[in-house]
């Protein structure tokens, strides 16, 4: 790990002023916020991230950053809530099961105790060629250097949202639920406060896989708002190589509003298969307002993956993805709520 200075500001405004820095995108900024540290310190040890200043925000006792509340607008979640705290939240489990399950099915209890839900959406890819600096080719780590995953061991890589420059999969779980429920990201930065629709937070790799989000250097996620009524008929299904403590090979965050057999509203977020938290809008469009039959779901799920671009080892995701969507939606339809 490279040397850095460590700061622990007492107030949120002080933290934001300390974190002011320049650069293209927040991930390569020389100043980084330290929340749980589960991604940041890991990548600093690996020399993938090289900040020179850490601003520890984990103890900021600001109402803006803490707790879960509900009002007429919807549900608000402070960014410094730990994943474990929200996974144990009974109201979330009842009214937003997709969100609670996505947290509970992620990582381990130790990591969930440490990691905060604001930082978690910024978790960086587990692509081994990104994480290991002995590989000289990684467009995400060294822009323009190439992509060792393209013809490497790419079983765990993305098939949706990929580009010729990068096929690294977005690894998280929690973000899929937020994407599905059209969450709004509250951001505070040197230029003041702003709101970002969740779907605009993560950028597809395109030509610039090293710029992962629309956050600017020094910007801090302070909370998430899930607008509208609760989603009791929702769930998160995660398919992985072992039963617990593994990243998704495919996952589906689904939410339904049913009238009889008809899906009046339907939301599908996908994980494990895409470069960003993926909103399956093609499938949603085919199913919204229609009777939710297994045949219709399967056809819509397969249509979503018609745009998939698999590589040598991850072709199975083109079948596993639709199967995961189908299972998740049938289970959500059958929920007694």
């Amino acid at each position: 790990m490279r040397p850095f200075t460590y700061e622990r500001p007492k107030a949120i405004a002080e933290a934001v002023s300390m974190a002011r820095s320049e650069g293209a995108g927040h991930v390569n900024a020389p100043v980084q916020y330290l929340g749980g540290g589960t991604t940041l310190l890991d990548l600093m040890k690996l020399d993938v991230m090289q900040p020179t200043r850490l601003v520890d925000i984990s103890r900021l006792d600001d109402r803006l950053l803490r707790g879960v509340s509900r009002n007429r607008e919807g549900l608000r979640i402070g960014a410094l809530s730990s994943m474990a705290e929200l996974a144990d939240n009974g109201m979330l489990a009842r009214d937003y099961p997709v969100l609670q399950q996505s947290l509970w099915l992620a990582a381990s209890q130790q990591l969930r105790n440490m990691a905060r839900v604001g930082g978690n959406v910024l978790q960086r890819t587990r692509c081994p060629y990104f994480r290991d600096t002995s590989y000289s080719e990684c467009n995400k780590r060294i822009p323009g250097s190439g992509c060792a995953a393209m013809d490497g061991v790419n079983r765990l890589h993305a098939v949706l949202g990929v580009s010729d420059k990068c096929i690294a999969a977005y690894p998280g779980d929690w973000a899929q639920g937020l994407a599905a429920l059209d969450a709004v990201v509250e951001v505070l930065g040197p230029g003041g406060a702003r709101s970002v629709p969740f779907g605009e937070l993560h950028r597809p790799p395109g030509e610039t896989p090293h710029i992962e989000t629309s956050l600017q250097p020094g910007e801090l996620i302070t909370g998430f708002v899930v607008p509208g009524e609760p989603w009791p008929r929702s769930l998160y299904r995660k398919v992985r190589d072992r039963e617990s403590y593994a990243f998704a090979n495919a996952s589906a965050a689904v939410a339904l509003r049913m009238r009889g057999d008809v899906a009046e509203d339907i939301r599908i977020g996908l994980g494990g298969v895409a470069t960003t938290p993926w909103r399956a809008r093609t499938a949603e469009g085919m199913l919204r307002g229609k009777p939710l039959t297994e045949a219709a779901i399967r056809a819509a799920a397969e249509a979503e993956f018609a745009q998939a671009r698999p590589r040598e080892h991850n072709r199975f995701k083109v079948a596993l993805g639709p199967a995961t969507i189908t299972r998740a939606l049938l289970e959500a339809k059958a929920m007694e709520v």
């Binding site: 490279r2 040397p3 020399d47 209890q109 990591l111």
Partner: protein, 198 residues
């Protein structure tokens, strides 16, 4: 100069150092456009409260809680397995919650209550979880055991040890390459009733 004594601890301690310098060398390529670095390691005085005792240390800011415990406070019960948050061997309690000390900076633990495996026994009497691991033969090589026990104590205190299935789920962050898992589940089942809450 003293002849260095070769011990298991010394050998284990040496290997991460080798790995770190190899990584540092590979990152010196011109393409890796690094931001300006502080000229030298940055030091910070950190008061750590470990097992009820406060100790002031002068540490490089890069020092993890794990290294502070092992190398500076000489509490070697907490183990370094993967050192990247994947194995659970370094599990300790921070303000009563189980965390990975390898991904926690010592500075982050400043002023908070740290409990390690050395802090579980009371007056020479093992914690019920420690005794249960012995009674149930819940380890073979023992390397993961301090992390398993710290995790298990928290698992019961959290109320996440109600069924075998729940124990397995909530203990999944602690890997045991000897695969003592069934015996670990049995040990937690034994200890949870003695700990008074499950």
């Amino acid at each position: 100069m003293e002849t260095p004594k070769i011990s298991r601890r010394g050998l284990l301690g040496a290997s991460p150092v080798v790995a770190v310098s190899a990584k540092a060398a590979s990152a010196q390529t011109p393409e890796a456009a690094a931001p300006a670095l502080p000229d030298a390691p940055v030091r910070r005085r950190v008061v750590l409260k470990v097992n009820g005792e406060s100790r002031e240390l002068d540490l490089d800011t890069r020092t993890t809680l794990l290294d502070a415990l092992r190398e500076h406070l000489h509490l070697a019960g907490t183990k370094k397995g993967c050192d990247q948050g994947q194995c659970g061997a370094c599990t300790v309690h921070l303000d009563g919650e189980r965390v990975l000390s390898c991904l926690t900076l010592a500075a982050q633990a400043e002023g908070r209550e740290v409990v390690t495996i050395e802090g579980l026994a009371r007056g020479g009497k093992l914690h019920p979880m420690q005794q249960a691991f012995i009674d149930n033969d819940a380890f073979q090589c023992g390397y993961c055991t301090p992390g398993q026990i710290m995790s298990a104590v928290a698992c019961v205190q959290e109320g996440h040890a109600r069924t075998d299935h729940e124990i397995r789920e909530y203990m999944s962050g602690n890997l045991c390459r000897c695969a003592a898992y069934p015996n670990i589940v049995a040990a937690i089942n034994q200890a949870k009733s003695q700990m008074g809450r499950a």
